[in-house]
Structures are given as structure tokens and as C-alpha cells.
């Protein structure tokens, strides 16, 4: 065991963990931030995606000891206080999730994309999202939600009863 400092969602955390422990398990089991998910452990599914210094990263293969002192953002830290990130709002408005298990990772990858490409093309979305697997097949709604969030004016919109009639001819 050894001590490492991390800034997680803006908060300083001191972690007393094995140097080999991947960030994923430090987040989930040590800090109790269970929004970041385990899916494969080999950087193939994207369920564990977080931002390290703003870069989308698969937390299942990054050791805590490799990123000591750095800044980590997880799905729990995406909203600003109680203001949902436009992607989170778009995900609700377009009813993207099915089982929902992959969606934290999807949103974190998409959020990193919007940081560098505020108006992404389909090709940009393909490139940014190819590493995020969805077992339930929500890809088309994810794409739509990213486009939708990219054009939000960040104003809150009613979220509960959304009309997705345009999906259905």
C-alpha cells in the first residue's frame, strides 16, 4: 500500500492503495464512485471511461500510481452542481438508455468529444465513440443525443415526458 493524491471531480482525495490498483477499482471500491463501470478490464468496452486531465481514458488499465497528482473527472462530476451537462439532459430527453450500464462511459466519451469539437460531424462521433460498446444497441440514439446536445443553448428543458414520435414513422 502507498499513498497517492488525486483530484477527483474537483475534490482532493488521498488514496491509500496498492500501487498496482487500476483507477477503476479505486473509484468504485475505495471512493464509492460506482457510476464508472467495469465491463471488460482490458480497454475494449469503454464502460470505465473517465477524463484524466480532460482526456477520455479507460480507467480499467490506468494504475492509480501512474497518475498521482492528476485530475480525474467521472460521471458523478459531469453536472455542474445541480446543472446537468447538456449531454445528460439530451440523454434523458431522447430516452437513450436501455439497460443503462454502458451509458456513463458513453457520456464521458461524448463529453470529451464536445470539448474539442463542439459541433461534431457523424464521422467525428464515429471516431470518438468506436471504443464504447453498447450491448443493448442504443447507438443510433446516442448519435442523435450528441448532435442534440451540441446544439443546446444549455437552457433547461422539461425532461420527463418527451415526444420521440419522430423516431416512428
Amino acid at each position: 500500500m502507498a499513498r497517492y493524491q488525486l483530484k477527483v471531480n474537483g475534490k482532493d482525495e488521498e488514496l491509500d492503495v496498492d500501487p498496482e490498483m487500476p483507477l477503476l477499482w479505486a473509484l468504485r471500491d475505495v471512493l464509492g464512485l460506482v457510476g464508472t463501470k467495469y465491463g471488460c478490464g482490458i480497454a475494449q468496452c469503454g464502460a470505465c471511461t473517465v477524463h484524466i486531465n480532460g482526456t477520455p481514458t479507460r480507467s480499467c488499465l490506468v494504475r492509480v500510481s501512474d497518475i498521482s497528482g492528476q485530475s480525474v473527472r467521472t460521471i458523478e462530476g459531469l453536472a455542474e452542481g445541480t446543472d446537468l451537462h447538456p449531454l445528460q439532459q439530451a440523454w434523458i430527453d431522447l430516452d437513450v438508455p436501455q439497460c443503462g450500464y454502458c451509458q456513463a462511459g458513453q457520456i464521458m466519451s461524448a463529453a470529451a468529444l464536445l470539448e474539442v469539437k463542439p459541433r461534431p460531424t457523424d464521422a467525428d462521433i464515429d471516431a470518438a465513440m468506436v471504443g464504447n460498446y453498447c450491448r443493448c444497441g442504443t447507438y443510433n440514439r446516442i448519435r442523435k443525443a450528441i448532435h442534440s446536445a451540441a446544439t443546446y443553448d444549455n437552457a433547461a428543458t422539461p425532461s420527463s415526458a418527451v415526444n420521440l414520435g419522430e423516431d416512428v414513422a
Binding site: D18, C40, D95, Y139, N140
Partner: protein, 751 residues
């Protein structure tokens, strides 16, 4: 409410307050429970195994329970009693209640109900929850509505039949109106109506059913709040992993336990003797530690000696060789026979066609791996032991079937928490991951969260069974299908056909053609198999609907016209049985999909359209795939058009998601997924060698519902089976190459 729930509820309330300012006050009220004067509707549903139609006789029973609560502030709590695995039931069932009740959806909050037999059958599987629960949910809603109307009648001194419930209020033509919240205290004193007196709303009057409602857990999902089984955290919890023999059913002899115990974070490790039942507890090595990583890491360092004498020796290549030897032969066992197939096959005027189809075993690989948290507490001072379980499962009460015989616990000693499932597709119906968790918690005397590694999850799955079909058809001189024969080659475990390894007497086109015969040959295997999204249908549709296209092509006829001819006159083979094919509904969806997809239009070089229909899970569904294939056999599925008749749609958004998901799942599966085994060992282990469809390959999906007047049925599964033959037929149209073996990667295609 435990701590997790509380944190979740507070955070949710905060978000809700921020986003829907008018809900601010109510959002916080949610935390304080139902305020005084609240109304609790006692459900009429009593014990398990009571069909909805039997409810009438139980009116007034003291065995009541709660589906609906209304606070005096007007908040309506609806309990959703069935497991949510992404199929949308947690939103759909409450929509039905809210509709009949006359509630405004914005006033409704949905909670997962406790696991309790008073809620009736709390399972999910076979796309049956909607057909099983539709009437019961309508009764629950309509009962509440009548009680509010009764209360309003008293309060306003107006006759009941002049009052209407809508928008969470009861109103009169004069403009007088009282809200459900205002009426709650009075409504609870009303007699619970006899279900036989209830009148349900007309479809034209629906304001909630048939609209699009965003999933009730979506806020938690997008903000990362604890929701899934794997997110369970309880005080003093330890973490567990369990290692089983790579050859299914091997017994543990010894392991380097002492070395393992010295590894960082490991608290305990021990051998477990199982009961030999793959659905309960197999032999293995348990490791318990201070984090998931600690036990996963230790698991990699295990050195175990197994006794494999009784373990599976299955070999996929062996099964293929045995099946190929049966090509064009008839099976030993007759499934059904009508007319005179032999006469048609030997008639020299007829054209006879044969084909041999193959489909592999595949895995469920739910993105959330199998897991279960268990807290086994030994009783002190003569008290009984207790067990608390946090399970993502399709059948929570299934745990009782093992807690009594294996751990000696009566039902009242066991508390089950139904957690959200990160996918299931038929996977989470067994209890081995539950037994493993209980055993670990019992041994270490602490709560244990037991998680499977992805490698465990793939190697120890209950697979979608692979198999083979040798098919034969006779075409008359005029190109009509006059005889059909299928030799089904399937698998058994302990002499019993595994899930999905069945060819029904009623399988299309057995009832539609005059001369038919189906036979079977079954191979005994040790590899465990289980239900996988649309069992049986997901492979048989590929065979039959591809072969129908082969026959149409051989007859020189248009596939659409040929398929409609086989379907024949509109008739319901077994009138009133939703599981029986209705050719009228079939023809309607086939014609609709053809029209919407532009069937018959001229396609550019290398492009093709493929059509398929399949009836399963009470759903009539037709699909057309538009594909192109380049010179390197790179396949692009541009568009899939789907026409569906499952009766009225409950949640349009949810139903659309299910169809889209099933199409993409079907394509992912047919593209490259294949589980093989040699010497009883599953050869794939994770996503590097088990390939899955990614976003760039996802086709557009264009969905059309025919909302017929038939009773509503489920849509979690049945849109998947027609996808593979539609794509296979489109590949033929584009290239002239017939795909008779799955996955496509085996035939040299990439996607």
C-alpha cells in the same frame, strides 16, 4: 430506505428541483414519505400463481398489497413490480396504471417494489410481462380512479356518473374539480371496487399509453448514481471472486491457497465443494478481499489442480463433423408429418432443393457481469440465521429455490433486493452466482459483493445453443412450394433439449404447406445452455427465411410474392391463442415493410435488399435490410426497415428502442460472434476474441408499428429473429453468394 437509496433520492430530488422548478417542493416531499392523510390503494392481487382472471373471487381478501400511493400533496407513487433489464418495463407498467387512474404523468414517481409474493409473479422473461400484466395494471389504475370518483362524489355531493378523473383530478362539467391530493384522505375510505365492475378506458381516450415517456431511471443512469446490482455497497462489505474449472463440471482437488492468502488485499481464500449442479454451486476456489481488484488480481495467480474425469469433453469441431454426416438424411425422431412429402420429392415434374445450415453457440455477455451481494448473518442468542441478497436477476424469487435446500433458510429468513440489471437477454435466470456469493459470505461472516470477471462471464455462460438444419423443398412446375422438410439437429443436457433447441410442429411453414415433415437428431453435450433473446426463433428464423428465399430464387419468382403466397389466406391457426400465427397479421406487416423499404426498386451494383418475416413471442414482424458488399467482402448494412404488429404500443419510445436494439443485437451476433469449445473448454474469454458491433457499423433502423386491436404483447425479443435472414438474403441479392453458416466472419465478411 438504506443509505444508498437515501443518497440517491436526495441527489435525484436536487436534480429534479433544479430542472423542473415547479416540482421543487414535491421533490423534497418525496424524501419524507407519504404525508398524513395519504391514500394507499390496496391491490387485489394476492398470492403467487394466481392468474389475473381469478382475481374476481378474491375481492375483499385480506391478502392485500400496495401498487399505488397518493400523498395529500398529490404525489402519486406507483410501484413497478418486475425486474428492469433494459426492456423498459419499469416505465411501461406504471404508464398503464397512470392511464387508467387518470393521473398526470408528471405527478408520478416510480419505485421498484419490494420482492414479496403479494406483488404476484415478479419475473421478466419471454417477452411476457406486458401480456401477463396489462389487465392487472389496468385494474389497479381503474380501481384507484373509481375510489377517487367515489370520494369526489361524496365531497361535491354530485352523482358519480357525472364525474371524470383526468390530469390527477376529478372534475364535473360545471367546472368544479378536486385534485387527487385533496381527495386522498377521503378516497382511502372508499370500498375497493369489484374488478368485474371496472370499465377500462377506450383506446381513443388514452393520453399516456401510446406516447413516448423517458425511462424512469434515466436521471440516475446519466448521473452515475448507484442502481445496478454491481453498485451495491453495504457497511463492512468485502469483495469476492470465484474460480471454477475451465472444463465445465471439473472438481477441485487442491490449490495454492497459502500463497493466495498472502497477496495484497486478500482476506481469505478457500476451496468450495459444490453440489454438481451448474445452475447452483459448482466446485471452485473462493477468494475474498478488500477490493474487487484485490480478488481479481489474486484469481490470476491461482494454481488449481482439477479432476476433470467428470467434466465436459465437448468439441465444436466434433459436433460439426457429426452434423455434416447427417446432411440430406432424415432424423431418427419424427416431430411431425402431414401429406405426402416423399411423393412430391420423387415427382420428376417438381424441382427439389436442399440446403444445410449451421449456427454457432453464442454468449450473452451482458455488459454488467454476473454479480450478487450477500450478507449471511449467523443468528446469536438462539435467533435464526438471516440472509440479505442484492441481486440483478430476472426472477428474484428463484433464490428461494436454493436458499432452503442448500443453506437451510426458510423464506422469512431471506430478504431479497431486486436491483436493476445491466442487460440480461435471458442470462440471469440461474442462481449459481447467488449461491457462490452466499457461500462466501457465510464462510467469512461478512457481507460480500461477489463479481465475475468478464472472463468468468463468457466462459461460464449458459450459451445460446448452436446447431444445424438440413432442409429440403419441392417446387411445382409453376413454381409453387408443394413440399417442405426439415431435419433439426439440436443439443441436449442430461437428455433434455436445452433452451432454444427445439423445432415446433407449428414452425413456419409447417402449417402453411400441404406436404411437410420435420425430424430431429439430438446430440448430448455438457456445455450449459440457456435462454438467449428469442430462444429457438433466433436461429430457426435464419434457416427458414433464408431457405424460402432460396426457393423463390430457384422458382424464378419474386421473394415477396412467393412469401405472401405461402402465407396464404388470412387465418389464425389457433383462434384466440396469441402464440399461434395469424397469417392476416403476417401479410399486413410483410406488405407494409415492402412498401416502406421500396421493395423492388432498382439497386446499384453491389447493393441488395433482403426480406424476412418471423413470428415469435406473439409478435408478427417483417424486416427488409439494405446492404452493400465491396470487392473485399466488406459488408455495410445501410438501413433496416421493420414492420411490427404487437397490438397497441404502451410506451412508443420504449418499443422503438427495443426494436432498434434487437436489430443491432441481431446484426452484432450474425457478424462475428461465435463461441467454440474444445475438450470442454470455452475458447473465447473477452471482447478481444469475441467481437461486438460498434457504433460506426450500426445501421439506420426505420420502424413502423401496426397498432392492431389485438391485446398488447411484448417486444423485448421478437424483432431480433428476422434480422439475420433479412441481411443474409440481402447479401445474396447484392452478390449472388448464399450465406448458410453463421457468423458472417466465417464466410469471409467483415463489417
Amino acid at each position: 430506505m438504506n443509505d444508498n437509496d437515501l443518497v440517491s433520492a436526495v441527489t435525484k430530488a436536487v436534480y429534479r428541483a433544479a430542472f423542473r422548478p415547479n416540482l421543487n417542493r414535491r421533490a423534497f416531499l418525496k424524501l419524507s414519505g407519504v404525508a398524513g392523510g395519504g391514500f394507499v390503494l390496496a391491490s387485489l392481487l394476492p398470492m403467487r400463481h394466481v392468474a389475473a382472471e381469478d382475481l374476481g373471487s378474491l375481492v375483499g381478501s385480506v391478502e392485500l398489497n400496495t401498487f399505488i400511493k397518493v400523498s395529500s400533496e398529490g404525489e402519486i407513487t406507483i410501484y413497478s413490480s418486475n425486474p428492469e433489464m433494459g426492456q423498459g418495463i419499469k416505465t411501461a407498467l406504471p404508464m398503464i396504471i397512470a392511464e387508467e387512474m387518470g393521473a398526470k404523468w408528471e405527478d408520478v414517481r416510480v419505485l421498484q417494489s419490494p420482492v414479496d409474493e403479494r406483488f404476484g409473479r415478479q419475473g421478466a422473461g419471454g417477452s411476457t410481462t406486458i401480456p401477463r400484466s396489462f389487465d392487472l395494471m389496468r385494474q389497479m389504475g381503474a380501481s384507484a380512479r373509481e375510489m377517487f370518483i367515489g370520494a369526489a362524489s361524496t365531497a361535491m355531493e354530485l352523482p358519480k356518473d357525472e364525474l371524470k378523473a383526468h390530469e390527477s383530478a376529478v372534475s364535473h362539467a360545471s367546472g368544479r374539480s378536486l385534485t387527487f391530493g385533496q381527495l386522498a384522505a377521503l378516497a382511502v375510505k372508499q370500498p375497493v371496487p369489484d374488478p368485474s365492475t371496472l370499465v377500462f378506458k377506450d383506446r381513443e381516450d388514452y393520453t399516456i399509453i401510446g406516447t413516448s415517456i423517458s425511462g424512469v431511471d434515466n436521471l440516475e443512469i446519466v448521473t452515475g448514481l448507484a442502481l445496478f446490482g454491481i453498485d451495491t455497497r453495504v457497511p463492512d462489505m468485502l469483495y469476492g471472486a470465484y474460480h471454477k474449472c475451465p472444463a465445465i463440471g471439473g472438481e477441485v482437488v487442491s490449490a495454492n491457497i497459502d500463497e493466495i492468502k498472502k497477496l495484497p488485499g486478500v482476506k481469505d481464500a478457500f476451496l468450495v465443494e459444490g453440489n454438481g449442479n451448474v445452475r447452483e454451486l459448482l466446485d471452485g476456489v473462493a477468494i475474498v478481499g478488500s477490493s474487487t481488484w484485490a480478488v481479481f488480481n489474486a484469481k490470476k495467480k491461482l494454481k488449481v489442480e482439477w479432476d476433470e474425469s467428470g467434466a465436459s469433453k465437448d468439441s465444436w469441431t466434433g459436433l460439426v463433423a457429426r452434423a455434416k454426416a447427417l446432411e440430406n438424411k432424415r432424423g431418427d425422431e419424427l416431430i411431425d408429418e402431414r401429406g405426402d412429402v416423399d411423393a412430391e420429392f420423387s415427382n420428376t415434374e417438381n424441382q427439389t432443393l436442399t440446403a444445410f445450415y449451421e449456427y454457432p453457440f453464442v454468449s450473452h455477455f451482458c455488459l454488467e457481469p454476473m454479480n450478487c451481494s450477500a450478507h449471511y448473518k449467523a443468528g446469536t442468542n438462539g435467533e435464526k440465521d438471516t440472509l440479505e441478497l442484492w441481486m440483478p436477476t430476472q426472477f428474484p424469487a428463484g433464490a428461494y429455490r436454493v436458499t432452503k435446500p442448500m443453506f437451510g433458510l426458510e423464506q422469512e429468513q431471506v430478504t431479497i433486493h431486486q436491483m436493476r440489471l445491466g442487460g440480461s437477454f435471458g442470462r440471469r435466470v440461474s442462481t449459481e452466482y447467488v449461491c457462490e456469493a452466499i457461500e462466501m459470505s457465510r464462510r467469512v461472516g461478512a457481507p460480500v459483493k461477489h463479481t465475475w470477471t468478464r472472463e468468468d462471464d463468457i466462459r461460464h455462460d449458459f450459451f445460446r445453443v448452436g446447431g444445424f438444419q438440413s432442409v429440403k423443398g419441392a417446387l411445382s412446375a409453376s413454381g409453387k412450394l408443394v413440399a417442405f422438410e426439415d431435419h433439426f439437429i439440436g443439443m441436449t443436457n442430461n437428455g433434455k433439449p436445452v433452451s432454444g433447441s427445439r423445432f415446433r410442429k407449428t414452425e413456419f411453414p409447417m402449417l402453411n404447406v400441404n406436404n411437410v415433415r420435420a425430424t430431429k437428431t439430438m446430440f448430448e453435450i455438457g456445455t450449459p445452455c440457456g435462454p438467449w433473446r428469442a430462444p429457438g426463433a433466433n436461429t430457426t428464423a435464419f434457416v427458414i427465411q433464408s431457405f424460402i428465399h432460396e426457393l423463390a430464387h430457384a422458382a424464378g419468382r419474386d421473394h415477396l410474392e412467393f412469401l405472401l403466397e405461402i402465407m396464404g389466406e388470412p387465418r389464425w391457426f389457433e383462434q384466440g391463442n396469441i402464440r399461434s400465427l395469424n397469417t392476416g397479421r403476417a401479410v399486413d406487416v410483410i406488405k407494409l415493410v415492402a412498401e416502406k423499404a421500396g421493395w423492388g426498386r432498382k439497386m446499384p451494383q453491389g447493393h441488395g435488399l433482403g426480406l424476412a418475416f418471423h413470428f415469435s413471442h406473439a409478435a408478427h414482424i417483417a424486416e427488409v435490410a439494405e446492404v452493400s458488399v465491396d470487392a473485399n467482402k466488406k459488408l455495410t448494412v445501410h438501413n433496416v426497415t421493420v414492420a411490427v404488429d404487437i397490438g397497441p404500443i404502451i410506451n412508443m419510445s420504449g418499443a422503438t428502442s427495443q426494436v432498434e436494439g434487437a436489430v443491432i443485437d441481431g446484426l452484432s451476433t450474425m457478424a462475428a460472434q461465435k463461441i467454440t469449445m474444445e475438450n470442454g473448454r470455452i475458447q473465447q474469454s473477452n471482447f478481444h476474441d469475441y467481437k461486438i458491433l460498434r457504433m460506426p457499423s450500426s445501421p439506420k433502423v426505420d420502424i413502423h408499428f401496426i397498432q392492431s386491436d389485438h391485446a398488447p404483447t411484448g417486444i423485448g425479443e421478437p424483432a431480433l429473429p428476422p434480422l439475420a435472414p433479412a441481411v443474409g438474403n440481402a447479401i445474396f441479392a447484392a452478390t449472388g453468394h448464399r450465406v448458410r453458416r453463421m457468423p458472417l466472419s466465417e464466410e469471409g465478411y467483415t463489417i
